[in-house]
Each structure stands twice: as C-alpha cells, then as structure tokens.
Amino acid sequence: MRFPDVSPLVWQVLRRHLIVFSRNWVTNLTFNFFEPLLYITALGVGLGAYVQDMEGLPYLHYLAPGLVASSAMFATTYECTYGTFVRMEFQKTFHAMVATPVSIDDVIVAEILYGTFKSVLYGTVILLVILVLGLVTSPWALLVPPVLAVAGFLFAILSMIWTGLVPNMENFNYFFSLIMTPLFLFSGVFFPLSGLPKIMQDLAWLSPLYHVVNLVRSLVLGQVHPGLLGDFLWLSVLAAVLFPLSLKLIRRLIIK
C-alpha cells in the first residue's frame, strides 16, 4: 500500500466544501434538525409515556443522547456516499481538483474531514437542542463534540469505502437499508441491548454506533467510567486501520 500523499492543500479543498455549505446551510441544517426532533417527540414524549424507566431513566432522557449520536452518523454517511459520489462522478469536481497541485489523496482526506465536520456540527446542534430541553445533566457533555469528531472520521471512512467498492447511486440504498438502519436500530439508541440474545449483544459490539452511543450517553448523563476509554479506543483504532483502505479504493476510481 502506497504512503498517503497528503499536503496542506487539504485545507483549500475543505474550504471549497465549507463555502458551498455556507451558501445553503439553513436548508441543510433544518432538514437534519427536523428528523431527530420528530424522534424525540414521537418516541421520547409519545411512546415514552407508556414506557417504564430505562436503566433508571425516564425514556426521553435515555433516548435523547442516542439521537445525538445517530444524527451525527447519518449526517456524515449521507455526505460521504451521495455527496461524495455526486461530486466525484457527476460534477467531476475531483478531476478538476487533481489537475491543480492538489493530489487525489488531498481530495479524499478533505472529503473525510468534511464528513467529520458534519458529524460534529449536526450532533452538536442536537446536543444543544436537548440541552435546552433540560436533557443534559452533566458538564462532561462538553466532551461530546470531540467524540463526534472521532465518530465522524470513522463513519466518513466507512462511507468512502462503500462508495469506493460500489460506485453507483442505486447501491447507496443498500448501504442505508442493509447497514445504516440496522446500526441505527440495534446500537442502543432506542433500548439497552442487555435484553437481547447474547449473539445480538456480541454483534452490537461490532457496531461503531454502539460505541458512539455509549460514549455520548455517558457523557451527557455524567456516568463517566474507565470503560469509556475502551469505546473511544475501539473507534480510533478502527478509523486508523481503515483510513488507508478508503484512500486506496477511491484513488483507483480517479487514477487510471
């Protein structure tokens, strides 16, 4: 595997994405803001009225931090599948960039960082919302954005790998229905996994979102314990290991 050819020009490419984002951030943000709010209302408030306390918490309190994590995940994965693919394949933006001193690795890293930015931004916005709703009970919550950054970095890499493996629009539907939705449902966002069969619990450990939810919920509720370092490490190590693969897979789509 080739050593990544990354330069400070990554910032210039990322800047391009931020310029585009700044032009329609209201639309973007509103859309991503609305969905978690629906979950909070429908499940947290509506369903929550019928649900017993979960792990000693009112359901709304239990659910809200999980939605911070899942919103962050979805923001990143949409950006680094559909968004990346449109830029790469339809707009040929990557081709335009690599004709300048920018390298293909610069372009890919900027995509990953843009995905990371979205994770931090959208997760933090939901965090602020639940803060206003009185659902954040600990100053440890200040550590949520850095957690979202690591999570975003990992989800961006995973999305880029999918995009690199099956570069066409239709297959992104599979990505979301076969991978993202199960992650969303079985990573402890809605209910603790302790009630599931052992095999499901073991599988959940493989879900990156499970570790993100653990971290975010514990920080938001102030239930901090050394086990969280394990979750953080799990995410960081996987990101570090998969990063070169994401570069390799996208690179081969552009460099022929």
């Binding site: 330069s7 391009r16 707009q91 081709h95 335009a96 690599v98 022929k256």
Partner: protein, 310 residues
C-alpha cells in the same frame, strides 16, 4: 530544453495498450497538436502529461521535470482544459475561478484581479455572479479555459477544446487561443477536427491506435503526402471495373489514389483540373466529382485508410 519530452512513452490499463511507446517533443511558445480519431490515445497521452494517469513505461518530462517525481510542481505551472467541462456547479462563475486559485495557493487579492481580468478577456465579465448551469456551452468552455489560466501557466493543455461547440462559439475560442499564443503561452491540444489543427497548430502529430503515424507542420504534411489538390470521385455504382478504368486513364497524372468506402480519392501530380478533364471524357456516371484543396484529413485517410470522424 523543450516544454514536453516523451521517449518511448507507454500506457497500459485493463490489459490494453492505449499508448505504444511514442516519442515527441513540444517546444516552448508553440502550439502543438495531437490529431486523431476518438480512441487514438490522445487523451491518455495528455492525462499522463498533467500527471493524472501514471506512466506505465518510458520517459516523460514536463517543463524539465519528471512526471513521476514532481507531479505537484509540474501541475502548479500547467493549465488544464479537460475534455468535459468540470466547472464547479455548486459555485458561481467568479467563485469558480477564485476557489480554483486557492488550489494553487494564489493570494486572494492577486486571484481576484486575475480572475476579473480573465473574465474580461473571455467576454464573461457580465456573468461573474451567475450560476454556472445558466451559461451556454460556449461560455462554459471559455470559463473552463479561463480557469486553466488562473495560475499564469507556462503550458496550457487543451483536450478537444471545441468539441460540441457550434461554429460561432468555436471560432471565438480559436481567436482567444491565438491571442494566448501571441502572448508566449505554450499550447498543447488534442483534436479530431482537422480544421482546428490546421488553424491553430504550428506542429502536430497524427495519432492512431496508440501510435504516432506522422509529425510535422500542417502544411508540410499535406504537401509531403498529398500535394496541392485532391479530386474526389463518387462512382454511381462502385464497381471494380469502373475504378480500374478511372485509375488507368488518370494514373499518369496522379501521385497516388485511395479508395475509401464509396469514394475514390485522386491525388494529382500537378494540376487537378487536368485530372478532372480526363475524368469527364470517360464513359462513366459520377455521383459527384469534386476538385478541392488537399487537407490534413486526406493525410489521415492516406495514413490509416479511415476518416477522422469515424
């Protein structure tokens, strides 16, 4: 020292050889062309020059640097106009230039004045704030060329600069390219329009199936291979006997003849008029009979037995 030097340059991908050990040199301040049909290997060659496609084997030096070792340095001094306009549709016209300038680390103030100058030069000044999608095909092309000039490149690579443009838009682009050349910019273009090649290029190579068939000045190539004029003959029924008769009766007046599909091309030694006269005396009916100046397309036909647009 030349702007581009290729020696035994070869490119293979997916098990196919796209460029077969070609040699060429592009001099500074000239307009150099790659003429050939689609699939000849022109785009693959320029992709290697601007460091997009890795070289499989051979040597390729651009602005005195090895493409394998110094891609970023080379690209910082090139301008690239790709075959497809890949303008950034998420950005407006002026922004397209400014953001592109960032990729070259051009200071914002310089970038701005340069971008405005370029929009002026390409007749796009009044479109600065418009969305790229709103531009016509010719305007998009001009903007793509403008973008390629944002870093004041020493060498500009244009891959099929006017394909898909209407004649008026095409002439406007040609006019601007000629002005660039007058300013001392080295131009390297690929095209399958012989008119474009003869209008713009000081020197060119004719490419087909990954190989360079000929090299020279457009006029010289035509004179060397064809001569001054061509008589194009369309026989009503293309029969061997008729063809043989034509060749027999005019042969002494010809340098050479060529059969391509339903057409017979006669390359007169001297006056085409004499050949025409001889033909009219024959007991044959022609669907058309045309005396015209020889062009690069005839050279291409002669070298490959096929037309350029095929």
């Amino acid at each position: 020292m030349d702007a581009v030097v290729a020696e035994k340059l070869t490119k293979e991908y997916n098990g196919k050889v796209a460029v077969r050990g070609i040699y060429f040199r592009v001099h500074y301040r000239e307009c150099f062309g790659f003429l050939g049909p689609n699939g000849a290997g022109k785009t693959t060659t320029v992709n290697m020059i601007y460091c997009l496609s890795p070289v499989t084997s051979g040597k390729l030096t651009v602005l005195g640097m090895d493409v394998r070792k110094h891609p970023r340095e080379i690209k910082s001094r090139l301008g690239v106009v790709p075959q497809e306009n890949n303008l950034d549709p998420d950005l407006k016209v002026l922004q397209n230039l400014l953001v592109y300038a960032n990729y070259f680390r051009i200071p914002p103030a310089t970038a701005r004045s340069r971008a405005l100058e370029l929009l002026e030069f390409f007749d796009l000044a009044d479109r600065a704030g418009e969305k790229v999608d709103r531009l016509s095909g010719g305007m998009k092309r001009r903007l793509t060329i403008a973008r390629a000039l944002i870093n004041n490149p020493e060498l500009v690579i244009l891959d099929e600069p006017t394909t898909g443009l209407d004649p008026q838009a095409r002439h406007l682009v040609w006019q601007r390219l000629r002005r660039l050349k007058e300013r001392g910019v080295t131009l390297l273009l690929t095209t399958h329009y012989l008119e474009e090649a003869s209008q713009l290029c000081d020197r060119l190579v004719i490419m087909d199936r990954g190989e360079i068939l000929e090299e020279g000045k457009p006029g010289e190539l035509v004179a060397r291979h064809i001569g001054q004029e061509v008589v194009e003959v369309g026989l009503e029924r293309m029969e061997e006997a008729a063809t043989a008769l034509v060749v027999e009766r005019t042969g002494h007046l010809l340098r050479e003849h060529l059969e391509v599909g339903d057409n017979l091309f006669l390359f007169p030694r001297e006056k085409g008029q004499a050949v025409l006269q001889a033909l009219q005396d024959l007991p044959l009916r022609f669907s058309h009979l045309l005396l015209r100046p020889a062009t690069l397309e005839d050279v291409f036909l002669k070298l490959t037995g096929r037309g350029l647009q095929a």
